[in-house]
Symmetry: C2
Subunit: 232 residues, 2 copies
Amino acid sequence: MEDVAALVFDVFGTVVDWRSGVAREVTRLLGDRVDAERFADDWRSRYSPSMDEVRSGRRPYVTLDVLHRESVDDVLAAQGADDVPAELRDELVLAWHRLDPWPDVVPGLRRLSARYVLAPLSNGGVALQVALARRSGLPWDAVLGAEVVGHYKPDAEVYDSAPRLLGLEPAQVLMVAAHTSDLAAARQRGLRTAYVHRPAESGGRRTPPATDPAADLTVTSFGELADRLGAT
Amino acid sequence: MEDVAALVFDVFGTVVDWRSGVAREVTRLLGDRVDAERFADDWRSRYSPSMDEVRSGRRPYVTLDVLHRESVDDVLAAQGADDVPAELRDELVLAWHRLDPWPDVVPGLRRLSARYVLAPLSNGGVALQVALARRSGLPWDAVLGAEVVGHYKPDAEVYDSAPRLLGLEPAQVLMVAAHTSDLAAARQRGLRTAYVHRPAESGGRRTPPATDPAADLTVTSFGELADRLGAT
């Protein structure tokens, strides 16, 4: 791993706790009209199918905010909340801009930043990533990811863009994610990979594997990642 | 200006002192074989013509590093330094990644960062901007600019990309530059504009106008910009 010069990160689930954050914002905006955790889970479950429309080429690239604005209508309808006005639906979409990182993230990234270029490589758009970073002090050097290339992960274009835009070889870029499928797609494009075990991501609904044997590294926190990479 | 939520910056001349920095690196790498300031001026003079090949569509987008690598051959030849090896020419290109900001820049950006989203909107590529920012602690929230859209300023695509990627209206984005032509092109796309008077940019070879009457603001430093925008 000595050649690694940059770390790129999946964000939803890996950097931020989307489930608690979305549920908190849903409660703030809708009160007890809906089951906030079920709302978060249902919304997230519509995430991949909505991107499939873009991945398949059936529709041109639109940001995740646009997809979230469309899918929130279905989530609201599923909980019998059809009368929520449009302005409030727009505000709900911004729940995904107001998520908090896991507790180990900011201290770990600060250590890693001294040695490595750091950037998100997420399906969330640039404005969303900027909002998350400013909210919590995530020390990104650049914002990479889906919107910059007009493709969603796991399309190759997203992974290829990281070394290209950072002026590096693919093997000099380490992809960090809590999802083995994301890492498998990154490896296909020549990136190094680090798996982060985030058992709390789904609130106990799913149990992620404890390790990813195909990854270069498995860790349980960004602090351990900094330790393993020799960041002081 | 109350609606402004993001500031985007020209970099060469506005944020960093390219002439002193390039001359310093040329001296470090070539010693007294060449006139370092004349080298910097000659290289910079080839900047706009080299981008014209891309702007006109005669060649596909390549990064400024590629253009600098090509033009450095001509600059070396003009000073009778034809025998400089290729590896050293590659290293010379990185002079543009090692430029220092004007003294007012970092304190001014720190104040502005508390209130505004900040990003470079430069013809330099992403890796170059990341290198400049890490070198000096420029507190960018994202790296925007030519490489992200595959066009060079003053193409409209570059200016349009700033509000689009930041999720803002054009009038919510303030373009900051030391060159009136850059600001004129930004205004054409609906951005607000602030002119920074940088009389030292060319080392006295050219005298930039003291003010830009067409801009929303004229300032002489990033500190004055923070003052005028009410940043504490």
